[in-house]
């Protein structure tokens, strides 16, 4: 709490805030070099993946965090974006569309899928919505696995290989470029591309949150009946949430395909959807900095836990337990502890924090909220 107070004071002082922003910008720009130097090239790749997941988590945050619609099949939109890119920029059909065209188109296609999958669920709430979206997520994956016969479209479980690396004009991200004597290998280039797009996604999220549309989303989350009585067309506003959330997923998917050079249905399982939901919930639903933090932590933590092997060796002289087993155990334990100790997330929005302190402090007047179970947590 003291840290948070200090942060609040910091934000009130514009000079200090600017210093913090500039420091953050420098850190983000220098991160590939720092990570590479300190932990090795693999960590630059992990940083790039963290950015992809930040985009995904922010997309799901619109659906779950703002509009309060529990979506357990969100990875479907990631898959749509990835396969859209893969099919139109690979030897699969020998189509090679440029990146600058594919990325917005992919976002648009994911948007359309968002509406398509959202439309039948409009009357559902809470648990029922979760089950149906879970089903949709699986349907997309199963389609991708089986669309190799009678006409081979997706190449089935083998996936699509040799996807074109991202090229921006004549600049290929897959090659090492030397600028001012510093070498920029492929993974660095992708990191910077992802960083730019992540910042764009953060910007769009912030703008949407503080707008007429953002308020309508939150109003629906809080009380759908009252929202409708205030003149909000709940159907359209919900579809808009699905579409916007899906478009972030589509962008992230396209980047993933170009970065990996390979996509297969395996990357889009239910557990991925659950991980993205964990990022949103653990970070702080509906709060952009919290969601970003949640995404980064949940990508970095499992990787960092690979060091459990060397750590054991250093402590006990030998490896007592296979780190592969311990990793998931510690990871699960960490998740449970966070949710127990910080039930509204690691970095909840200021209003949610106020809400919590109101719960523990002088008892506020009871307020009738008949739709409590419509929300995941209130």
């Amino acid at each position: 709490m003291r840290l948070l107070d200090r942060w609040k004071r910091l934000r009130r002082d514009p000079r200090l805030a600017w210093t913090a922003y500039i420091a953050l910008a420098v850190l983000l720009l220098a991160l590939p070099f720092l990570a590479d130097w300190a932990f090795g090239r693999a960590w630059v790749r992990i940083a790039a993946f963290a950015l992809l997941y930040v985009m995904l988590a922010l997309g799901l945050n619109i659906v779950v965090g703002y509009a309060g619609l529990l979506d357990l099949g969100y990875v479907a939109f990631f898959a749509v974006g990835a396969y859209f890119y893969a099919l139109l920029a690979s030897p699969q059909f020998d189509i090679h569309l440029p990146f600058w065209l594919l990325l917005p188109l992919g976002a648009g296609v994911a948007c359309a899928f968002g509406v398509l999958l959202g439309a039948p669920t409009l009357r559902l709430r809470g648990d029922y919505l979760a089950i149906v979206t879970l089903g949709f997520g699986e349907i997309i994956r199963i389609f991708l696995t089986n669309l190799n016969a009678p006409v081979n479209i997706t190449n089935g479980p083998q996936g699509i290989n040799l996807i074109d690396p991202v090229r921006l004009g004549g600049f290929s991200l897959a090659q090492t470029h030397t600028v001012l004597g510093a070498g920029f290998p492929a993974v660095y280039n992708y990191y910077y591309l992802f960083l730019a797009l992540t910042l764009a996604v953060v910007f769009v999220s912030m703008r949407l949150e503080d707008s007429r549309i953002g308020r309508a989303w939150v109003a629906i989350r809080e009380d759908e009946v009252a929202a409708a009585a205030m003149g909000i067309n709940t159907r359209n506003v919900k579809l808009l949430a699905f579409a916007m959330g899906a478009s972030f997923g589509g962008v992230s998917g396209g980047l993933f395909a170009g970065f990996q050079g390979f996509v297969s249905p395996e990357s889009f399982t239910l557990i991925e959807s659950i991980m993205i939901l964990c990022m949103v919930v653990l970070g702080g639903m509906g709060h952009i900095p919290g969601v970003v933090l949640g995404a980064v932590l949940l990508v970095v933590l499992p990787e960092a836990l690979r060091y459990l092997g060397p750590l054991q060796e250093a402590l006990f002289g030998r490896v007592l337990r296979d780190p592969a087993d311990l990793r998931l155990l510690v990871f699960g334990l960490a998740l449970i502890l966070v949710m127990l100790l910080r039930p509204s997330g690691l970095w909840p929005s200021p209003t949610r924090r106020r809400e919590l302190s109101a719960d523990t402090g002088s008892a506020p007047p009871e307020m009738d909220t008949p739709d409590d179970d419509d929300r995941i947590r209130s």
Partner: protein, 263 residues
């Protein structure tokens, strides 16, 4: 019906022969009411008489099984709640339904949704049109909070407000939709005498500013003092309508409230 009260001028809201059934239960049977422009119309009746059901039909939450209703000459039957709100009827709820985790100001700003336009593109680009619309929304919301007397609570979460303030906030939020008819479902429920008196002052002021009010209320003193006309529902039927003084002497009304066989 039992009084010689003759409404003059075209009614603002006219419901004709509304019926609504839930399974085997007739919640409303052939109920007709007409609310005139500028009046405070009260809807009273014992518990379970169908008052809230009528409200929910009028505001589009339930479709009626039979009957029609028109608002300012426009047919409203079968519209969805958001369309009813757009056409100019705003309501509050018997069991307060605020957006609990939004601030008081944000609650009222949501009420402006139906009268404003900005979409996703406007939100992202924040062009001059969107910015001036946002500023106007916030300004109007503050005015309304001041109007209902909770301007100083603007930054507090709705759920943290005192009960009476929550009721006021619901009124402010409803007024933000620029209604021509404000429908209040038991606004004095759970209030003490002072709060009820304050509420009455507020409602009279809203009416004096040109609003038409439709009011469900249990507090008989409030209804009798505030309403120009009242209709009494019992078991889903209208049993009386007229000026309060006449209605309270009506034998059918006394029967309904005191249990029939006493007369």
């Amino acid at each position: 019906m039992t009084t010689g009260y003759a409404p003059s001028g075209a009614p603002l809201l006219e419901a004709v022969a509304i019926s609504k059934r839930f399974g085997g239960l007739s919640a409303l049977t052939d109920v007709s009411v007409a609310v005139k422009r500028g009046e405070i119309f009260g809807l009273i009746g014992p518990n379970g008489a169908g008052k809230t059901t009528l409200f929910n039909v009028l505001t589009g939450i339930y479709p009626p099984d039979a009957g029609e209703f028109a608002f300012d000459g426009e047919r409203l039957t079968g519209l969805k709640p958001h369309q009813v709100a757009a056409s100019g009827i705003a309501r509050t709820f018997q069991n307060i339904r605020l957006f609990a985790n939004m601030t008081a100001l944000e609650n009222v700003m949501v009420g402006r949704h139906v009268r404003t336009r900005a979409g996703v593109l406007g939100a992202i680009l924040r062009n001059p049109a969107t910015r001036s619309e946002e500023a106007a929304i916030a300004k109007r919301a503050r005015e309304l909070l001041d109007y209902v007397g909770i301007g100083r609570r603007a930054a507090e979460l709705a759920r943290a407000l005192a009960y009476g303030d929550q009721r006021r906030l619901e009124v402010a939020r409803a007024l933000a939709t620029e209604p021509r008819l404000l429908a209040l479902d038991e606004p004095a429920a759970g209030m003490n005498a002072t709060e009820t008196a304050d509420l009455r002052t507020l409602l009279e002021r809203i009416r004096a500013d040109g609003m038409t009010l439709l009011l469900i209320e249990h507090d008989v003193r409030l209804v009798m003092g505030l309403c120009d006309r009242v209709a009494v529902l019992d078991y889903g039927r209208k049993i009386a309508e007229g000026v309060p003084a006449a209605v309270r002497r009506d034998p059918a009304v006394i029967d309904a409230y005191l249990g029939g066989n006493l007369a």
